[in-house]
Amino acid sequence: MAVANKFRLRVTTPDNVKYDEDAQMVILRCISGDMGVMAHHEPTLAILDYGVLRIIDGDEERRMAVFGGIAQIGNNVVTILASDAQWPEDIDIASVEAERERMSLRMKDDADDLAIARDQILMRRTLVQIEVSSFPLIGGSGAHTIAADGDKSGAAEQDESKGG
């Protein structure tokens, strides 16, 4: 049964539940790099960075922008407690581009480290929004081939594509 290779994925933000459905694989952007999670993953707690969350179920792949949070993996349930998350369709790309432009200009004038750090966070937010909105232009291909041979239980992919 295909059901055996699936797990429950729940994405919650303080404002609402973004996703509560089954998935075959999810790729999380953790602070130490990307982490791929499939069914029956070992119990893990991980810190999420700003980045794109990829949800793969069969031939379908959905993407979501996640702005930091905690991922809790265990009992074949992945719970993502995000500080904030957005679906690509909820992002107004024009205003995000404008915001990015504004941030890059403002960072040149920032005097102290604190202001730079603050603007960097805002800038990264816009970059993630742009990345998630440009789907399926970035990456995307080959996603379902990984999902297709995921019928061994306990399988987990770990690819350190981000590095650093």
Partner: protein
């Protein structure tokens, strides 16, 4: 006894007050529904993060230095008091303020630093001459996660810089529309003694948990998030209570107004009756005099 005209005037005025209260009741009812939906969204998340923090407690090594857990000698105490900006919501503000005040008084010997969220709580403590260090006025139904984050950052900084050695959060817990319980929780320092081992062991996840990238980094990130969410969910709980309290108090005010109108109408009719009787008596006696 008031004249008929005066009674009539009062009926009209009570009636218009009643209409306003009825409208406020309806507005509060719809706001309550919205606030309740937000509460239903945040409760699972807040329960999840509490569970995570609890499970960490059991896996930490006591040699490890964890931020926000150090129990220092208590010299200054910070209190976050969540109340509302607007009145006309029954005993909601009084109850939570009184609870907070009694608690502040029980720690009299340590200087208090009050962070008042909501104008009503702020006024309550100002009248009693307490030291208010910060004041936030945000209409409680519009509270956002960013507001909670700002508050959490503020208290975390106060704790780190030694301006406060303990931080308490006073809010109103929502049980049901009619039961609101003022609640005091200690936010900082986090209690790291493993007093609820049995509870976490029952869930069976703590022992074999792995952490990414490692437990120390995880805790450093998880604690601020825990603070944010705890404060945010307390804000939402309080705002649900505010709306529920306003709804029920406006409901009883509407009922009281109806009662007053009934009484006044009775008065008015009695008066009218006695006037008619008097007039008839006058006419009859006048007719008798002519015979």
């Amino acid at each position: 006894m008031a004249s008929m005209k005066a009674i009539k005037k009062r009926i009209v005025s009570v009636n218009s007050t009643k209409k306003i209260m009825k409208a406020m009741n309806l507005v509060a009812a719809s706001k309550l529904q919205k606030a309740k939906a937000r509460l239903d969204d945040i409760r699972p998340m807040s329960a999840d993060i509490k569970k995570i923090i609890d499970s960490i407690k059991n896996s930490i090594d006591y040699e490890m230095e964890i931020p926000f857990t150090e129990e220092r000698e208590v010299k200054n105490i910070a209190y976050i008091v969540l109340s509302s900006d607007r009145g006309l919501c029954g005993s909601y503000n009084a109850t939570v303020s009184k609870e907070a005040y009694a608690f502040v008084e029980s720690n009299r010997d340590k200087p208090e630093k009050i962070i008042a969220v909501g104008a009503k709580g702020h006024d309550y403590f100002r009248r009693r001459g307490k030291n208010i260090v910060h004041r936030y006025d945000t209409a409680s139904e519009a509270t956002s996660y960013t507001d909670a984050m700002a508050l959490a950052t503020l208290v975390a900084d106060m704790y780190k810089t030694g301006q406060a050695d303990e931080v308490y959060l006073v809010y109103t817990h929502f049980e049901s529309v009619l039961a609101h319980i003022p609640n005091i929780v200690r936010l900082l320092p986090l209690k790291m003694s493993a007093d609820n081992i049995s509870e976490s062991d029952a869930s069976g996840t703590s022992a074999i948990m792995s952490y990414d990238p490692d437990i120390e980094t995880f805790i450093k990130h998880a604690i601020p998030m825990y603070l944010n969410i705890t404060i945010y969910s307390a804000m939402i709980e309080s705002s649900v209570c505010e709306q529920a309290s306003r709804m029920t108090s406006m409901d009883s005010a509407t009922r009281n107004a109806t009662e007053i109108i009934d009484e006044l109408t009775l008065d008015y009719n009695r008066k009218r009756q006695s006037m008619i009787t008097q007039e008839i008596t006058e006419i009859v006696s006048g007719a008798n005099a002519l015979q």
